[in-house]
Assembly symmetry: D3
Homo-oligomer: 251 residues x 6
């Protein structure tokens, strides 16, 4: 049994509130245990200079934490005047992950700005951001589609992420909270599509290493957790949207 009473393979309770904000084309508030992230998707009718006149779209992500999302207050990155390496790494990851399931040929020359703002942090903020941002982005594209600005919903598959890790006692666990994450020997983030393909795999031993057989165990744990997340995303997005995506992935 784990620190907070969970089984090794047990995810924390997940909740996604859709259309959380008034202004963005798509937005959610996702909670994964005590981790809470506002994800919004804003559509801009142009692409960055390096992509112009190619008839394709672009997706870019930004990530931030409220200063007191954490136990100790953090200095704002706007006050420091620069973004930390951790933030950059996370926002690059979110953008890359989302682009893997979007048909950028079918979006028109538009940029989707994904904003993931962590309101409260308790481990797994980057994976919660991806899981939530996928829903926000899908809602935004669906609005474009309903308004006949695009001909298809340009989403190829579902997308979700979770963390797995090896605790100090060697136990492999899924969806680490902050206390587990801080003490884990190995921490791995897995981003997967609905049909079980990897999009991103980042495994890190901080002052530790892991073997091939441990890797296999980690991936198995991640996969089981992700199946639950895909089911929940379908439920949240509703039958109509989910059906379109399911059909797209069968192509």
């Amino acid at each position: 049994m784990r620190y907070d009473g969970r089984e090794p393979q047990q995810l924390r309770p997940v909740h996604i509130e859709i259309d959380y904000l008034k202004h963005p084309e798509g937005s959610v508030l996702i909670s994964v245990g005590d981790t809470k992230v506002i994800c919004s998707a804003s559509i801009e009718d142009k692409v960055p200079p390096f992509m112009r006149n190619q008839g394709k779209g672009w997706i870019t992500a930004e990530y931030s934490m409220l200063p007191r999302a954490t136990d100790q207050r953090n200095i704002r990155e706007s006050s420091k005047g620069k973004i930390t390496g951790r933030t950059m790494e996370i926002q690059r990851l979110i953008g890359r992950a989302l682009r893997a399931v979007v048909n950028l040929e079918a979006t028109g020359e538009r940029t989707v700005w994904i904003d993931c703002d962590v309101i409260q942090a308790d481990g797994g903020t980057r994976t919660a951001s991806i899981t939530g941002a996928f829903v926000a982005m899908t809602l935004a594209f669906h609005k474009l589609y309903k308004n006949k600005k695009i001909k298809t919903l340009p989403i190829n598959d579902f997308l979700a992420a979770t963390s797995v890790g090896i605790l100090k006692d060697g136990q492999v666990v899924v969806d680490l909270n902050y206390v587990e994450d801080s003490a884990a020997h190995v921490d791995m983030n897995v981003v997967m599509t609905g049909n079980g393909e990897f999009v991103e795999l980042q495994g890190t031993g901080e002052e530790a290493t892991f073997s091939y057989s441990q890797l296999q165990e980690l991936l198995k744990g991640a996969q089981e957790g992700l199946l639950e997340l895909f089911d929940y995303q379908k439920q949240v997005l509703g039958e109509e949207i989910s059906d379109i995506i399911t059909k797209a992935k069968q192509r």
Copy 2:
């Protein structure tokens, strides 16, 4: 009748959810119409260098908006690498306003960090921030007081803020939303204490001016609105805390 159906003197619906976040010593989510701000108060057991060894406390505030709090997405200040003049002005105002009702001699050498993060903006974000931050700060001090780290609740009086303005047609209105604010000739923010004293008065004619008699009308409107806000703050903070503050202000 106003744009959104309100009477000239009518505030928008106000709601304050206390203890909104898990980590900060005090926190609220305040909604004023569609304007929503997370206000948190974090206690740090030291003061900035210029105040050390004076036995006094300090209160400082930061203010920010999520990029898509507004109708058009704004570039993050952390991405720009600098804070805009507007943000600086607002966070200086919030800090100054709160310090006016706190007995800094009675807090010990502690800093209260106020964070006001606008989740959704529809006009009046700075006044909502002050009204909400007062509650978050009071909750944080009350926690210190309950834990016997300070001997008294160092709050001298209630504190709230609202806006008043003169619309293009000359009408004086209270608590302007974004549409009204953008088109107003004169915009005034009034910060007041529970016993009716001014803490801050900022009246601005953008490419317009206002007369002494208009000023009197504006102040009267503000005062009426603020009385409602003080009543609501009392209700939210509860009888015990409100009584302590009421007694303090009678001294």
Copy 3:
């Protein structure tokens, strides 16, 4: 009697030297007691991007202090690599105030850059900047007018500013110098037009508050001081220019 021998309602000696610099279209050196500010107005034949093709002009202001304008040397903002909140607040105030008396429809697509550089500081640098910048700007527009680049002098009225405050002993005084300003309970800056309308009113209690009747007393003091400043501006600008402005304000 005050610290420096003045009556409560007495301004410090004011002097404005016009055409102080060789290059700017308009420039003055204004002294208010020991406070000295070089104000220059530079005309640029274009407007910022957000205003293009509207046929209107724009006025923007920058404010700075020499490092040793003050008793203790300040680090240059260029060395720090960023502008302080105080500077931003002041330069936004100056720009807003000047725009209130200019007919931006009549300037053509031009930007007036106002630069207020404090050579020596002894309190009231922002109000001296406004009073001086109005003269510099008027001289610059008059040069355009004389050169037939604009058809009218696009100034609607005179504009000046002063400070009023409540000292620790409760006395209401006008035009505070640095020693008074540092110790005042309440500090208010009043920007007014020649016909007695308010442009900007900023009253602040730093760890203090003020009542409605004190506000009335402060405004009365400010108004008397400002009448003297308008008289002096007329004298400095000369009969020809003053007459044009006086006629404009009667419209």
Copy 4:
């Protein structure tokens, strides 16, 4: 056969020139094909503030490219005034990877600064940096050890990195050069210790995904390539140092 004539499993020629620079405690010039990186290790006799008085050491890495290391000249990060997300990600990776094989309890309160400066880039600069930096760091620690400043060589195992990827035609290849890397569907960086444990695994599908069986193939390719790199590192470091490391890893 690949673009440059290599077999799928074939590494590019690797060369490490040790003691390349005069000043650093350890330094190498590593070439992996046309990719050339100067790696230096500088010992500082103190640790960052957050690690003081714990009796432990720290390793931190910085990474940069000469502006014309690449086909198109890049703007210097010092001219831009900020470090890109890519650079941050890479330098965090290098530091983390090296810390995994160092016994930080045995280094004393010292910081090792690793500098990886890419002189010429042709794909795989981050993996070449890790492989080279391990040698530079080992040389630096060995100098400390020889000078009796530390009692043991605090290296637990060899450490090297390489890339593997899936090309557009589905072929799995090792050690991608720039042309291959730009066009690959999947790119994975693998950092491994001499005894075959993973330190870091970063697999990314850019607008693509990969299956579990492809992952297995990728890891097999990486492992074979890394065995060659460990052999070469041993040869470069010489028998004496290699023996100490080999004994350490058997513990």
Copy 5:
């Protein structure tokens, strides 16, 4: 005859107003033709970290221009967030030049901050800054000396600077104004001590070169001009201070 009617060897009129500002320990307003610079010297009772506990003093200089000191308005360096290369070069030059005539062993652990702020520019701002800053610094040290904080006036000799150049027609001229400077083939700044020794010599051909014999002619011109400046500095500083310096240089 030159553009402005001067002989080739003729300096522009020079005027130095001492004690120009109220707050600094030493200050002047120097005019060289239409070039006007406020030079102030501020004494701080500590030295930078790298000089602590050596019993010596330090002199550092900063240089800036008001935005409209020039014909075209320049963007403030504080707005840009960084200092240009030109400014850095000039402030390093001023500091170095002044340190050459100060006995830093005799100042105590003090820093002299020299601020040169160009109010109006018409060529030769860096040489005017040096000539003026020498006087401001001497006044500041003399104040320390009078107040018995230092035992001697730590100035070894007079110090002044001027420019010489070769115009397009080959003519060698002294003290170039802006029009001459912009068109000159060769521009040389010479900083010299009262007894005729060079402190700094910076000769530059912008898209042009100069021969050894031209160099000799340039140096001769500079020397004659500088003799006039030393005479004027003596007159401005007065007999008492000048005598102390004259005696110091004879040692």
Copy 6:
């Protein structure tokens, strides 16, 4: 005899390896004793905005040091977020010097970006950079010329630089290494063209001065050293290119 066994007039061994890098149009690795600099010249087919549509080219230079080029590790300028004054001064000098021997009318609207990256520093990095950059730039222009993109090789003359100085014992020496440079009373950098004309002369006494006769001795020393450098440049560039330059300078 000098610290490292050289005669006063003796240069350190100089070596220039041409075409050192794969990507730039021209590149060298220059060694002057233990000072090693990679100089590259990149051709861009456009000029900066202020030079557009004049049919002329531009040359700009950047200079940097690897953090551990020196005995003590330096913080990267990219980490500091700004470029030091020393770096700015040097890169301005390199650009200016190169422009003096290039016929910018004959290059077309192209920018040559010169990058001088110091790999190892032992004094004289700026003069080595100029001597090496001249060769890299010439190679780059020669490539354009060979490819018939320009009609002539737009180089008017050879260009090299060296340092001369006065040591503490009064000895005049050429090509100072770091130990000599740190202790020298006077340090002078001389940039000269192949026909013996000065391009740039920067002599500085750090807390010291120098007389006219010392200046003459310094210049004589520099000139002798530079003749050797021109001979070596010719040898490195080869007969064909050297002949073109020699003919150009005779015009």
